[in-house]
């Protein structure tokens, strides 16, 4: 497989042709290329990496499968996703994570890197077989009980220590469960008016502060999932200044949307952690721009329609995010001048790959590096419409919203998954993937 991309602008603003051969970037290619992509006026970004995706398979295939989620990722410009462990059965054994990994490899749209559960059944009681998952063919390095907070302090200490043993990182869902019983939305003026049980910022911030101090004490790495409050940004800045090995992610929706949207009781806006105040979105943008928050991760959470077509309190938490992430980041961060495209490459590709320990993303576009990239038209304008969603979930908060940018092509391990804005069919991609594995 050989590809030539003509005239693309790179994130640093330079413009050049890109040559891809045998899965990696090359100085030139011999013979006629299989694909030639005219990228004049378009922008090439390193393949995006999502450290926080819910692919739902095994167990919840009516919501999403590894295949449908991989396709959603590819059209969003992603070439690697980390799949959360809250499946059925839970990804708490080598067998389950190897299955998810193998499905991802066979489908080939993106690299599917499973995340292992920290505790058996996500129950927060005893450690899962972390060593076995780390040494399995899935080579798990990120462990998380996402959806549940590891709230027992001693268990969190042991988790950090034990995961550290295998060069892994614990990704904590920071939510004090006692402070968030029946919580429905951010606690504040709006929750008081609407009579919806509040999810106070302190329930997130206190757990982050505690875990940062435990991580410091035991000398382990800690990653914080979906940071959502201004106070959390301050706590993380303090922890980093203290030299603690802490990294953090923010979702596109927490950067753009705020709690005022809950007023219409439209359950597309119900998510955990909840949408916060406008002040929080500004603090999160500033925190991401300053590097206090290391990366953007989608928390892509597909649900079937019936999980959302009901009263607010009965609706499931979560939004799909893979297909819209890059447009939202351009809208919230790039267009207003908070991030450059080089920064975007860092927060959506280089850094998440580094946190999750997947190789090949260290030096984007360098000759000899794996060719994972996406080509976008940053000048595209228009409404985000439902036909942009190619995963199974339709629970996007952005439908009907004007969002810039379109993914034109995505190339994973040197073969295309999206060309001319169109997803390639699954047989072709699976065949390319097989060919690339040799």
């Amino acid at each position: 497989m050989s590809i030539v991309i003509r005239g693309a602008a790179l994130p640093d603003g330079t413009q050049r042709d890109l040559f891809i051969d045998g899965g990696t970037y090359a100085r030139e290619i011999s013979g006629t290329p299989r694909h030639v992509i005219d990228a004049a006026g378009l922008l090439a970004l390193p393949g995006l990496v999502d450290l926080h995706t819910h692919l739902r398979e095994p167990g919840f295939e009516q919501s999403e499968t590894v295949l449908s989620g991989s396709q959603a990722a590819a059209v969003g410009g992603f070439t690697a996703v980390f799949a959360m462990a809250n499946t059925m059965p839970v990804g708490d054994t080598a067998g389950v994570v190897e299955q998810v990994h193998a499905l991802g490899e066979a489908h080939g749209y993106v690299t599917v890197q499973p995340i292992g559960a920290v505790t058996v059944g996500l129950a927060g009681e005893r450690l899962a077989e972390i060593g076995a998952m780390a040494q399995s063919r899935a080579a798990v390095r990120v462990f998380s009980d996402d959806g549940q907070c590891i709230h027992d302090s001693l268990l969190m200490r042991r988790s950090l220590e034990y995961v550290h043993t295998f060069d892994g990182v614990v990704a904590q869902h920071a939510q004090d469960p006692r402070l968030t019983i029946d919580a429905q939305m951010n606690e504040g003026v709006v929750s008081g008016e609407l009579g919806l049980t509040g999810w106070p910022a302190v329930a997130e911030e206190s757990i982050i502060a505690r875990d940062a101090l435990i991580a410091e004490h035991v000398g382990a790495r800690l990653h914080i999932c979906h940071v959502s409050t201004a106070g959390s940004v301050e706590v993380i800045a303090w922890a980093k200044a203290r030299g603690i090995q802490i990294t953090a992610e923010v979702t596109p929706h927490h950067l753009l949307l705020n709690e005022e949207l809950v007023r219409g009781f439209d359950s597309r806006f119900k998510v955990n952690p909840p949408l916060r105040r406008d002040e929080d979105t500004h603090a999160l943008r500033a925190g991401l721009a300053a590097g206090t928050i290391d990366i953007v991760a989608t928390d892509h959470a597909p649900h079937p329609p019936e999980a959302k077509e009901c009263a607010w309190a009965e609706a499931a938490n979560g939004m799909v995010g893979l297909e819209s992430a890059l447009s939202v980041i351009q809208h919230a961060m790039v267009d207003p001048g908070h991030l450059t495209w080089t920064d975007v490459s860092r927060v959506l590709s280089v850094k998440p790959a580094q946190i999750g320990r997947i190789p090949g993303y260290e030096t984007p576009f360098a000759n000899g590096s794996p060719a994972n990239l996406t080509i976008i038209d940053p000048n595209a304008k228009g409404e985000f419409t439902i036909d942009r969603l190619v995963g199974k979930g339709r629970n996007s908060p952005y439908i009907g919203m004007a969002l810039p940018g379109r993914v034109i092509a995505t190339i994973h391990n040197g073969y295309p998954t999206v060309i001319d804005g169109q997803l390639l069919d699954s047989e072709s991609v699976a065949a390319y993937a097989k060919e690339s594995r040799g």
Partner: protein, 314 residues
Amino acid sequence: MKHLLSTKDLTREQAVALLDIAEDMADVSNREVKKLPTLRGKTLVNLFFEDSTRTRVSFELAAKRLSADVITFSAKGSSVSKGESLKDTAQTLAAMGADAIVVRHPASGAPHVLAERGWTGAAIVNAGDGTHEHPTQALLDAFTMRKRIHGTAARGKALDGVSVAIVGDILHSRVARSNVWLLASLGASVHLVAPATLMPIGVAAWPSTVGYDLDGAIDARPEVLMMLRIQSERMNHAYFPNEREYARQWGLDDERVARLPVATMVMHPGPMNRGLEISSVAADSYRSTVLEQVASGVSVRMAVLYELLTGSLA
């Protein structure tokens, strides 16, 4: 008006007009034949996902006095309790030709969802949703206050300058929320009294003042003292130590009633916990508007149904 979901959506003019229509409806209730043909041929569905005999009966009576056909759809023992969704229930009722749906639901916002998702074209009346709102209760409270203060000269008047203290579980009270927004629109000044555990975060942004001290609120000589019901389940979640302490600190006992100005009215949305938030002496005194509130409820609900189904107000 298409729906009545929240008192927040009502302008002062709309609210006064509704209260004036309710005055006319009250006159009907005092006649020998307590019935108008106005809504003949219209179908009203009482859709109750939560038990509430009082509110359901009040709406039923209101609809019958306007000659509407009334169906009561109670969630207990129905398809709803067998897992039917709000969407399917709404579409079923729409297919049966319901003109108005009066909905009581344990989840805040459920009436909004019914009104705005296009599952039914019926007018939606919020008859209490979770801890969000109970707009007809606030309208009947305002109607009762206006009548006590102005008597037969009530028509056209708002509640400008009337001081109202609302005491109790503000956090979980849809009655308190609907009253705060409506009373503010009508020009009344509202003071909320509760322990901090039963006061919502963010209450400082409401159009009311806030305090913890019932005795101080009584010493301020309010014209209206509204006592809210304490739900027994609150006791189990450490909102306050026990009933005795609650009654001592925030109950309207005999000694506190005696200190109220002569003209102060005592309101309660019912059902009352006698001896907890209100003493029997207070509940049975001339000050108590509890039974007037029940009667006002029918008149106000007649006015709301009449307005939504015949549409005279903008």
